[in-house]
C-alpha cells in the first residue's frame, strides 16, 4: 500500500503549481465540503484520530470543538509555520513543494470552525517557502478557491501570510498570537486558551502546517481510510525529518507505528561511514534522548515512544554516532534554549542560562564534582513551573543525557 498522503506530490514536476495539484485531485472535494454541515466536518476529523503534528499531539477535531459556536466574535485560524525546533524541517518542504495542500486544508478547517480570516505565521528565515506559498495563494484567489463566495458556496475566506522575526518562541501558539498582533512574542498565561480567547481576543484555532495538510485526504477519503494507516492510538501518517550521522538525511513520510530502526537504517541509509549508532533524539531537540539500544527497539507512534520515556514531538529525528560528545551535544541545546527563552518566567530565564554556563565550564575543563547534581536540580526546579513548556524542553534533555550518558559528564567533573 502506498503510504504517501502528505508527500504524494513531492516527486511531481512543478508540484507547487495549482494545475499540478488539481490534476492529482486537489480542490475537487470543496463542493463536497460545502455540502456538509460544519459540525459534521469536525466529527469526521475527530473520527480520523488526527493529532497535532506541531509537537504536543493534541487531537485536532477535539481542539476545533472547543471553539464556541455561539460566540458573536469572529473566529480565526492561525497556521503555525514557524518550524524552528532543531532537527525539524518537514513544514518547510510542505510549504515549498505542495502549498496548495495546505491552502485546501485551511479552507476545510476554516469552514468547520466558521473562520473567514485565516493566517499563516511563517518563520522569518523561510524566505523561499514564503514566496512559494504566496504565489500559491495568489493562484487560489484567481481560481476562486479563496476570497468571497468560494465556488458559489456563499463561504468567504481570506488568507494572510505573516513573517516572523527570528524568535523560536514565536512557534509557541500564544507567543505566535502575540507576535501576530504586533506585540512582543512571548507566551500568554493559560487559561484562557486560544480556542476561547485567541487572536485579537477572539476564538482561535492554531494548527501546525502538517496537521492542516492532512485534512484534504481525510475529507476526500473519510476518517476510516485515514485510519488504515498507523496504529489505533496514533492513526495516519507522519513526516519525520532525519538529520545527523546518516547516509541519506531528509524527510520521510511513514505510517505511525513504523520502526525507528527501519527509518534510520533503511530509509535514511544507515549510519555514515559505517560508524556505530550512539543516540537518537526521536521527536525534535526538546524530547528525551534514546540510547542506540532503545532506538533500535521502538516504534514511531505516540504510545510506544511514551513507553520509552520520550515523545514523538515534531518528528525531528537527530541521529548521533559513536563520535558524538554528549556533553557538547547537551551544551549546544542549553545554548539554544537559553538563547531562545523569552525571559518572562524567572525559572526559565535564569535556569536555562545557568545550565548553559555550567555546561560550558565543564567543556572548558573546569567541571566540579557537584555539577551533575546541580544540573539535575536546575532542571527539576524549572520544569513544570513556567508559563510555557520551553523550560521543560531543556529540562528533558538535561535529565535524559545525564542519566543515560552520565559517565561522559562525570569524566569532565573530576575535581
Amino acid at each position: 500500500m502506498d503510504t504517501k498522503i502528505l508527500t504524494k506530490n513531492f516527486g511531481l514536476k512543478d508540484s507547487h503549481l495549482l494545475s499540478v495539484y488539481e490534476s492529482t485531485g486537489g480542490y475537487q472535494n470543496l463542493k463536497k465540503l460545502f455540502g456538509m454541515q460544519p459540525g459534521d466536518v469536525i466529527e469526521e476529523v475527530k473520527k480520523s484520530g488526527l493529532r497535532g503534528r506541531g509537537g504536543a499531539g493534541f487531537p485536532t477535531g477535539l481542539k476545533w470543538s472547543f471553539v464556541p459556536k455561539d460566540s458573536p466574535k469572529p473566529k480565526y485560524l492561525c497556521v503555525n509555520a514557524d518550524e524552528s525546533e532543531p532537527g525539524t524541517f518537514k513544514d518547510r518542504y510542505l510549504l515549498e513543494l505542495d502549498p496548495h495542500r495546505l491552502i485546501e486544508g485551511m479552507i476545510i478547517c476554516s469552514y468547520a470552525i466558521d473562520c473567514h480570516n485565516a493566517y499563516v505565521y511563517i518563520r522569518g528565515e523561510f524566505v523561499y517557502p514564503k514566496v512559494q506559498l504566496e504565489k500559491a495563494i495568489e493562484e487560489a484567489y484567481q481560481k476562486g478557491y479563496l476570497g468571497k463566495n468560494i465556488l458559489g458556496s456563499g463561504f468567504d475566506l481570506e488568507i494572510t501570510v505573516h513573517r516572523g522575526a527570528g524568535a523560536y518562541i514565536c512557534g509557541e501558539e500564544t507567543a505566535l498570537l502575540n507576535s501576530l498582533e504586533g506585540k512582543r512574542g512571548q507566551p500568554r498565561l493559560k487559561p484562557p486558551f486560544p480556542a476561547v480567547v485567541g487572536l485579537f481576543a477572539c476564538p482561535t484555532v492554531v494548527n501546525n502546517v502538517e496537521t492542516i495538510s492532512a485534512l484534504p485526504y481525510v475529507l476526500e477519503n473519510g476518517a476510516d481510510a485515514y485510519r488504515q494507516f498507523g496504529t489505533e492510538k496514533s492513526p495516519g501518517t507522519k513526516m519525520f525529518s532525519v538529520s545527523g550521522h546518516v547516509n541519506r538525511p531528509g524527510n520521510f513520510e511513514i505510517p505511525l507505528g513504523y520502526p525507528l530502526k527501519k527509518l534510520i537504517m533503511e530509509d535514511a541509509g544507515g549510519i555514515k561511514d559505517g560508524k556505530a549508532l550512539k543516540a537518537v533524539i526521536p521527536g525534535g531537540s526538546s524530547v528525551p534522548v534514546l540510547t542506540a539500544e532503545e532506538a533500535m527497539d521502538v516504534n514511531l507512534d505516540y504510545e510506544s515512544l511514551q513507553e520509552k520515556g520520550t515523545m514523538l514531538g515534531s518528528g525531528g529525528v537527530i541521529v548521533m554516532d559513536e563520535t558524538t560528545c554528549m556533553v557538547k551535544a547537551l551544551t549546544n541545546l542549553a545554548h539554544f534554549y537559553s538563547h531562545e527563552s523569552c525571559g518572562q518566567c524567572s525559572p526559565c530565564r535564569e535556569g536555562t542560562g545557568w545550565a548553559h554556563k555550567i555546561l560550558q565550564r565543564m567543556l572548558g575543563g573546569e567541571g566540579r564534582a557537584n555539577d551533575i547534581d546541580e544540573l539535575n536540580r536546575i532542571a527539576d526546579n524549572m520544569a513544570g513551573k513556567t508559563i510555557c513548556v520551553l523550560a521543560d524542553a531543556l529540562a528533558m534533555p538535561i535529565w535524559s543525557y545525564l542519566k543515560k550518558f552520565r559517565s561522559e559528564f562525570e569524566a569532565l567533573c573530576r575535581s
Binding site: 498565561l189 527563552s341 523569552c342 513556567t386
Partner: protein
Amino acid sequence: MPKLTIDGKEITVEEGTTVFEAARQMKTSIPHFCYHSKLSIAGNCRMCLVEIEKMPKPQISCNTVAQEGMVVHTQTDNVKALQKNVLEFILINHPIDCPVCDQAGECKLQKYYMNYSVGDSEFNESKVKKPKKVDLGPNVMLDDERCILCTRCVRFCDEISKTGELCVTNRGDRSTLRTFPGKKLDNKYSLNTVDICPVGALTSKPFRFQQRVWFLKSAPSICTGCATGCNIEINHNDGKVFRYQTRKNEAVNECWTCDEGRLSYTFINESRLIRPLLKTANGLEEVTKTQALAAATEALQKCSAEQIVFLGSAYESNENNAALKKLANNLGVTALQYAFHEVENPSSDDFLIKADKNPNRAGVSNLGFAEFSGELTGKTVLAMERISASQIEKIRSQKPKYLILLSSHQSPACELADVVLPVCTFAEQKGSFINFQERIQKFEVALAPKGQMQTAWQFLQEIAQSLGHAWAITSPEPLLKEFFNLTYEEIGEQGKLLE
C-alpha cells in the same frame, strides 16, 4: 460563590476570585513579585506557586481561579521548597547590592531572602552584567541588574497612566527593561513605578541616595498639590521631609499619586519663616512674638468691625480657617473672603490631577468665606497664605490700611504686610481638608515646628485673648467639633464624605 479550602480552613469567595486573593482575604499572604491588585495578571515571577489537590503540577495562585471544592496548600514544605527555588533563580543574577540600594529595608526580594534563608547560592558562574544607571526619564533612574522583570512598571504604564513608554527588550537572561526607542518615561504619574517596583531597580531621582529608609519616620497626611487630596505618608528625618509615599484610599487615589504632587514636598523644607516680622522704616525686621502680636492686636483694636476684612485660605486647614471665623464672630467682622493658590496653565486630567491647586477650597467655602474679590482699600486686613500673584497685585494696588499676614514662607505677600506671623505648614500640625468630592480627610503632625512657628489657630487664639475673648483651645479638635460637628475619630483614616 465557590467554597474552597486553604490550609485547612474553608472560605467562600466571589465567583472569579483567584486563589491568591482568596488567601489574602483569609490574611494568608502568599509571596509574590509580579502580582499587583490594580494591574493585570502577568504570572511571570512564579513566586506564588501553591499546591492544589488533584492538580498534577504546582499552580501559580495569582492566575488560578478558585473553584468549588478546591483544596489548596500554601504552607507545606513542598510549597516552601518551590518558593525557595524560584527565589534562588531570581537571585543568581541579582547583584545583591543591598548595602547601597535605596530599596533596602522595604525590598520584597530582601525580605523573602531572609524569610527563606536561601543562604549561599550554589551559583558559581559569572553573573550577567547589565547597566547600573539607565536614565529612563526626568524622575526615574533604572538599575538594570536589580530588575527582576516582574513587568509591574510596564503594566502600570500600559494600564494606569496609559502612556505605554516601557517595554522589555531582548530575551532570556539578557532581557532588560527599556523605554521604547525615542521615548522617555515621562508621564504625570511616573514615580508610581518606583513605588510598585518590588526591588530597588527603579529609583526616584530626587530621593536617590538621600536617605536609608530605616531612618525615615512617617506620618499619614494629605497631598496639598491639588483639590484631589491624595492620601500620602510624609517620610521625614531630622526635621526635613525626604519624600511622600502613596497611602491607599480606594475612594480617592486608590494607591497612586501624581509626580507633581509627590514632589511638592520641597516647599516644606525651603524658604521657611521662623520668626515674626514687623514693618519698620528699614523694611521688614525680625521681632519677638510679643512685639508682633501687640502690633497686630493694636491694629485690629483701632478700627471698627466694618473696617476689617478677614482673608481665609483655600490652602489652609479647616481648623485654621475655623479659628479665623471664630475670631470674626467674636469681633463682628462680616467681610470674609478667602485667598487661594493659582498657577499659570494648571495641569489637570480625568484621573487624579485637578486644575484647582488648593487642597481645601471646599472647606473654606463651607465656612462661609467667599472667593477673593479685593475691596480692601483703607481696610485692616488679617490674611492667611497662600495668596496668588494676581491677588497680591490687587492687594498692592488697593492699599489696605494695615495687613496682618499669617505666613509659613518668605513669600511675595510678606512684602506688603505690616506684620507677619510665622505659621506651620500642614506638615507641622494636625488638621483636615475637604477635597473636591466633599470628602473631609485628616492629616497628622509630621515635623516639629521650628523657631517661633505656631499653627495659625494658636496665633489667632492669642490675638483673640489679647482682644479680651476667652479662648482656651489646646488642640485643633474643638474647632473641628464647633464648626464641622466632627471628631478626628469620625473622620477616620480614609476620610468621610460630607452629606
